[in-house]
């Protein structure tokens, strides 16, 4: 099966910058998979998202070497409107996402559909559904600018997923959210994956990435230093030395092994840790 997103020898420099923000990236993304993108701040995660969405170079200009392909076609060869239809992009700072031309959250969420020329009754139905899913129904009449950071983040997410793009690129959607809100965002994203969307999520909360993502990509100084199955990548303790946070369960699992606890493998989620430790505890009890 062909890749839905593909990086071919991609190196990218912002204008006036000698140091590439992204360096020699070759990667393929499969349709319907959930990819977590992690790495320290300044490692190029947001630029990576901008390259997929085509904002780099179309908006940021700069110098792109190699190609970023969406469904086999280079981003630079797309019309802006077609890229927007294919790829939903949720910005890191929700403030940057708000259109500024709508007075209520309801209208804000409907804005994209209006621009795509969707019939009015369908817009209404889809907006209502998405606001329910993202738990912002009660904010329908609010002004988008008068909301808290967390509320803005949810509305920004709603205004993108309502467009039902095939590819969702989401940059740190939970930084302002409490633990419950964060989990609900991950559940929403998981629901998008179940609807066969391809998800590319930048996130620092590795414990949740461990639970939800199929694959993980680790960036450092613009380069991919690890990529592969979530379990394989996040159990690699050497990543800590690269300033990459790892799941609590991987850290504790590694230390338990060092103390002589015979775990079969380093767990990355609580259920993996539970499964192995329960087995050992039952054996001990006998």
């Amino acid at each position: 099966m062909g890749a839905i997103v593909q990086f071919k020898n991609v190196t990218y420099n912002y204008p006036l910058s000698d140091i590439p923000a992204i360096k020699d990236i070759n990667l393929s993304f499969e349709k319907g998979k959930f990819y977590g993108v992690i790495g320290e701040n300044g490692s190029g995660k947001t630029t990576f998202c901008n390259l997929i969405r085509g904002f780099a170079p179309s908006f940021y200009k700069g110098d792109l070497k190699g190609e970023v392909l969406i469904n086999g076609k280079a981003t630079v060869d797309y019309d802006e409107g077609d890229l927007a239809l294919n790829i939903g992009y949720v910005f890191q700072n929700p403030f940057n996402q708000i259109s500024g031309v709508k007075d209520t959250v309801f209208e804000e969420v409907a804005f994209g559909l209006e621009n795509f020329g969707v019939p009015v009754d369908e817009i209404e139905r889809r907006v209502v559904d998405i606001m329910k899913l993202t738990k912002i129904e009660h904010l329908a009449e609010k002004n988008p600018f008068s909301m808290s950071g967390g509320q803005q983040q949810r509305s920004a997410l709603a205004s993108i997923i309502v467009l039902e793009p095939d590819i969702l690129v989401i940059d740190e959607p939970t930084s302002q959210l409490d633990p419950e809100g964060t989990e609900s965002v991950f559940e929403i994203i998981a629901a998008m994956k179940a609807a066969k969307k391809t998800i590319i999520l930048v996130e620092h909360k590795v414990d949740l990435i461990a639970e939800f993502a199929d694959e993980v990509i680790v960036l450092k100084e613009g380069q991919v230093i690890r990529s592969g199955k979530t379990q394989d990548v996040l159990s690699d303790l050497s990543l800590l030395e690269h300033g990459v946070q790892l799941p609590q369960m991987a850290i504790i699992g590694d230390e338990l092994i060092k103390r002589g606890v015979p775990l079969d493998y380093i767990p990355v989620t609580t259920s993996q840790a539970m499964e192995q430790l329960e087995k050992l505890l039952n054996k001990e009890a006998k």
């Binding site: 790495g39 320290e40 701040n41 300044g42 890191q92 700072n93 403030f95 808290s148 950071g149 967390g150 509320q151 740190e172 930084s175 302002q176 959210l177 409490d178 633990p179 419950e180 809100g181 964060t182 620092h204 414990d207 800590l240 300033g243 990459v244 946070q245 799941p247 609590q248 369960m249 850290i251 504790i252 230390e255 338990l256 103390r259 002589g260 606890v261 609580t270 840790a273 539970m274 430790l277 329960e278 050992l280 505890l281 001990e284």
Partner: protein, 271 residues
Amino acid sequence: MAYIKLKGVSYKYPEGFLAVDNIDMEIEKGESVAIIGQNGAGKTTTVKMMNGLLKPMSGEVFIGDLNTKDYTTAQVSRKVGYVFQNPDDQIFHSSVYAEVEFGPKKMKIDEKRKEKLINYSLKWTGLKKHKYENPYNLPLSIRKFVTIASIIAMDVDVVILDEPTAGQDLVGTLLLSNILKELQRRGKTIITITHDMQFVVENFNRVIVMADKKIVKTGTPKEIFWDFEALDKAMLKQPYISSLCYKLGIEGDIVSKQEAIDAICKKLNIE
């Protein structure tokens, strides 16, 4: 007597929204306290009343023997520094240095001490290399440290940090831990709002849980993170490590990694 004291404090925003409902809170001088709870629980409103950014609708807020209602925000903020949740609400200078200099300059601190304070705060926030950079050329997570540096440079008695852990990576989180330790070593009183429960466990001895405009519970991380009723009320969950121990039936109200490792090994009869 407690250094920071809130007595029967309520706050209603001008548009009529009641954000804090009759709370009492006491924080000792030199204490480092975390406030946790859902978005909208009243955390930010509460701390903004401590530095005079907001004045209570009813009740009283004391900093030492100073009742905040008798003083202007400018006066209170010389004692109590508040680092905004969103750094972009705070930053308004075109270089890191100018931003950090603003507070001590405004307080008319003499030149020599001012330079010392600025250098000290840039050093602890890891910003020395960005001294002449425009804050808006820096990533959001680093901009947060610019706002922290501006407050440290004012040498205030009380430092309030509103969600400093948001969007921080491993290095940023460690840097924050170090700043908290250093401020405490210097006798500062610290209040930190955060959603990162592991950070709370690793950095604070006292935790205040807020939910729905009120205080649900105050206690040590052990007392808070094993009180399921309080956690439920505040829609919070145990940190991953505590949760693992709970599910494995390991006793001892475990919150730290080391405790968990020791307890698991003990249960498995490994040294």
